[in-house]
């Protein structure tokens, strides 16, 4: 082998070794002791409470002159109450329900998916029924998940503000 070729081959092997080493130290390989988001599912949210969450969300939205869709699902991710404000975007009807459902099914705020994807963890988009956009928040009662609220129609940040107002109004 010519000296230049030998050098090139050596470099290639070194590169592969570095790549293999990098793989071993991937953050995905870490095995945590505890489960993440280990929140038990509770009794499904009542209509009264779901409507209280929607009323609080709509109040916040109206205060800011925003027009949003707000959906509340139960602990099974199924629709309990929904309201579309006058003039709210039609495409966001399904998105608001999707955000609420994803927050309930994955026991976390949909913002977590958004941030994950932003950070480069694109595999998150391959998980079933995920929506990687903030504005979906679980509703807890005594540490148990009883439902979730989802808002859509504005920017993600606007959706989240309104969503939080709704969730905070009924959490215990």
């Amino acid at each position: 082998m010519k000296p230049q070729l030998r050098l090139a081959a050596g470099c290639l092997l070194a590169c592969l070794a570095v790549a293999a080493g990098a793989q071993q130290s991937s953050p995905m390989d870490v095995v945590p002791d505890k489960m993440p988001n280990d929140i038990p599912y509770g009794t499904p949210i009542s209509l009264e409470r779901a409507q209280a969450a929607i009323a609080a969300a709509l109040g916040e939205s109206r205060k800011r002159d925003w027009k949003l869709n707000v959906a509340v699902v139960d602990s099974g991710g199924r629709l309990v109450a929904f309201a579309r404000m006058d003039g709210a975007q039609l495409g966001s009807i399904a998105i608001s329900e999707h955000k609420a459902r994803a927050a309930a099914m994955y026991r976390r705020e949909t913002k977590a998916f958004e941030m994950g994807v932003q950070a480069g963890n694109h595999y998150l988009l391959t998980l079933d029924d995920v929506i990687a956009s903030r504005g979906g928040i679980p509703i807890l009662d005594g540490g148990r998940l009883i439902g979730a609220i989802g808002c859509s129609g504005g920017t993600g940040s606007q959706d989240e503000v309104v969503c939080r107002a709704g969730a905070d109004a009924v959490k215990r």
Binding site: L47, E48, A83, L90
Partner: protein, 133 residues
Amino acid sequence: MKTRPVLTLEDCRKISAAAEAEAKRNQWNVCIAILDDGGHLLHLVRMDGASPANARIAIEKGRTAAESRRSSAVWEERIKAGRNSMLGMPGITPVQGGLPIIVEGVCVGGVGVSGVQSHEDEQIAAAGIKALA
């Protein structure tokens, strides 16, 4: 250019509250869905005790009425009369319990109810729409 009436959230609240009152009066637990004339959901309440299936069915009955401008019972009757081909109509849920909301001769949306017997579902929907007048 033509103008037409449009349902507001306030209208939906009126319809929904009246429908819910009719259901409660009879001790029925149902889901009540209100959709606009394009078949897009405006308002939904699922009373405690109504199932997740009721939520889906209520929306589809309401959509059937809103988009076809006639009660979902009309579709059910046609099929019962032997028009089996109507089962293949796109977007149609041919089960009683969905009524169109007609204002000034124009269909502005639909109400769908699911949870009890179909004729009772329709009774609830009718009570809701009546509150709009």
